[in-house]
Amino acid sequence: MSFSADAELRKQLLDDALKAHEQTGTQSPFEKANIWRTIMKSRTTKLAAAAVVVIAGVLCVQFLTGTNAYAQVVQEIRNARTVVYTVITQTNQGNGETVKTDVAYKEPGLLRMSTVDGYVIILDSTSGKVISIVPTLQMYTIGDVKNLLNNIDTTKGPFDSIESMKKLPAKADEHLDPREIDGVICDGYKVKQGDLTTTVWIDAKTGDLVQVEQKYASAPGMNKIIKNIKFNVVLDDSLFSMTPPEGYRASELKSDAFASVSTEDMFIEFMRLWSSLTVDGMFPPVATPTPKVIMDMGQQGKLKGEWNMPVMIRMTNGMLFVYRLPQSSNWRYMGENVKFGTPDKAIFWYRPVGSQMYRVIYADLTVREVAEDKLPK
């Protein structure tokens, strides 16, 4: 597929470009040198100019020394072809239990996430395949999740942590006071990008990246700490193999298992299902609970009924609604510790694209439109 303009068109386009070239100012670029020649004629102005250059240089060095470490770390993140790190999130189950997930990332889209009890998810965004392995159940799930990845803003999905780090700007908004983290004195740099505030902690002596904190103003349940970050480590392709462990039984996801388009109704259905399948009738602790949260609640005897694959798929379709909401939706989940049917209790709200009003879902799963200043505090 190549196109080429004919002779007449070529001439016409070139004539217009040359005309624009001629019309752009009458000052020759060499005339700009006159200003400098004027400065250098007088001894007084020459000294003043020299002073300005020196002061600017000193300020520049001081500024760069402080922010150079941050800029170098950001560059390292952007250039990294592989990254390994640990993500720490809180489950918000009242006891403040944290979940640690080890992540390995390899371009152009391979991700491996694993928890301490061996639960593993491997995702290949290029082929759209995923495998999840649950050692406690000796079970694996493998499938095609094109629909799952479709339309998901990668800053909110499984690639959230790494993609957010790669989007850090070269210059931080704020340089923080030093802090000790894991026995290391670190310089801190804060960056605000829309809903997300990232704080980067760098070893003050070595310039190594020590910790990254990510906080979402509209979704505190997504806040995380990222540690043990290493770049460009050798990651064998076998780490991202889609071959299940021997002896494990399969549960196959159909290629169209997940909805390509998510609706509010699906989210409401998810809330209804969850509250009907928990002993206390409460809604989930977060809007998008991880499988680990579900497993932990199961072990604690908080679940009832049939948590089978069709139920999980319906719940996942509901969670996808949240994942697919754009940042401008300012969604907020308040369903933790709320029982189904609690009167006048809002559990979730969001602003649809193009709307000034928010849609608020209540604990009885009714929906009302509410102005921003009338949202629950």
Binding site: M1, F3, A5, D6, A17, A20, H21, T24, N150
Partner: protein, 179 residues
């Protein structure tokens, strides 16, 4: 590359010859990209025209340090997006008398045009982001990383857009062949 550095330097000095050389070197490439984005030759022509006029007028303040080809590609991408946002046009048929195909052979010229038109019709059916990604990668030879920077999205999003775009193109073009 060295030639481009010299051209940039001479362009900054106000050299018309450098402008002409840049124009000759990149016109067809940029036109091909613009046709891929806009699927309308007139719009593509407008896009490339605007890019070169602005580029020509920028010589005094031109400070581009990086790759000249990437710079011009970015200009066309941005201009195409602006045009598509503003324009209320119908996808037009490409006028064969204004185009010359890849080959100089008369028979090949006709075939080349048919293939290009078929491909462009299929491209027009893609969502704009996928179309832009496919054109930039296949015709612009841009790597996914460069496209990600240009589109301000993640490399994974670019890979996804490219894959879905190609899948749809294959499906559409296979349907046409079967008909």
């Amino acid at each position: 590359m060295i030639e481009d550095e010299i051209l940039k330097w001479r362009f900054r000095q106000g050299s018309k010859e450098a402008l002409c050389r840049i124009y000759e070197k990149y016109l067809d490439y940029l036109l091909t990209l613009a046709v891929g984005f806009a699927n309308d030759f007139n719009t593509a022509q407008d896009i490339v025209h605007d890019v070169f006029v602005r580029f020509a007028a920028s010589w005094q303040g031109f400070g581009q340090q990086g790759n000249l080809k990437s710079y011009l590609t970015t200009c066309v991408v941005n201009q195409a997006r602006d045009h598509i946002r503003r324009a209320k046009h119908q996808p037009g048929e490409l006028k064969e008398d204004a185009l010359i195909g890849d080959s100089d052979c008369p028979e090949q010229i006709v075939i080349g045009d048919e293939v290009s038109q078929r491909l462009n019709r299929a491209l027009a059916e893609l969502p704009y982001e996928q179309r832009e990604t496919v054109v930039l990668h296949l015709k612009g030879d841009l790597r996914f990383r460069e496209i990600a920077k240009l589109q301000d999205v993640s490399i994974n999003t670019v890979a996804g857009r490219y894959r879905y775009g190609l899948d749809k193109l294959r499906s559409m073009l296979n349907d046409e062949v079967q008909k």
